[in-house]
């Protein structure tokens, strides 16, 4: 088993700018319908989800792969605990990397939102260290 971690930090102002300038077009291009419904246009919550998407791409070592951000979804359990759901290109990258499970945590304050994503892989740590890190 191996582990991969990804982290990202987002300035909430950049999300606010996108909402002010592009409105629904921005939300549709970046967030799933579930995420849009969960966030109700709140820039803080959207920023945290954007950070989770980027943290996931880093953990997957996506490099220059084409991955629509809507392929990576943050879901909320009734308890409030977040989880990740991958589809499309993101799901294919995860399968190629041997991802067995994923976990995500989100945080935000007034100006910044951040996320950490942890992926559990099928491979042993020794294999992870010697594998090609593309």
């Amino acid at each position: 088993m191996g582990l991969r971690v990804g982290i990202d930090l987002v300035a909430v102002d950049t999300v606010r700018e996108a909402l002010d300038t592009h409105g629904d077009a921005y939300v549709r291009r970046v967030y799933s319908e579930t995420e849009a419904a969960d966030c109700k246009g709140d820039p803080l919550r959207l920023a945290a989800r954007f950070a989770a998407k980027e943290a996931t791409l880093k953990a997957l070592r996506a490099g220059d792969a084409a991955v629509p951000l809507t392929d990576i979804e943050v879901r909320r359990a009734p308890s409030g605990a977040p989880s990740l759901a991958l589809r499309g290109a993101a799901e294919r990258l995860a399968a190629r990397a041997g991802v067995r499970s994923a976990d995500v945590t989100l945080t935000h304050e007034r100006s910044y939102a951040a996320a950490v994503v942890l992926l559990e892989l099928d491979e042993r740590p020794g294999q992870a260290l010697s594998s090609d890190h593309r």
Partner: protein, 81 residues
């Protein structure tokens, strides 16, 4: 096209440096453009040029530099014809 692209990058890219100090091939990411800022740049490009970046172009290298964005827009126009 480059002048308009530069204007959009200046307005939405949140670079740490003046975009006019960058060459066409200079990395916008190294100049401070974050992932989210690149989304704002993409949406502004779509509005300005009335195009839509398809899924296969939603990758880091497409927005890497002024030259890369120019090339992507040229490709979109060719496909639209």
């Amino acid at each position: 096209m480059s002048a308009q692209v530069r204007q959009i990058v200046a307005e939405h890219g949140r670079l740490a440096v003046d975009v006019e100090s960058l060459g066409d091939d200079a990395s916008l990411y190294e100049a401070g453009m974050t992932s989210h800022a690149s989304v704002n740049v993409m949406l502004a490009l779509e509005d300005t040029f009335d195009v839509e970046f398809p899924d296969e172009m939603l990758k880091r290298s497409v927005f890497e530099s002024i030259a890369a964005i120019d090339a992507a827009l040229a490709q979109l126009e060719v496909q639209a014809v």
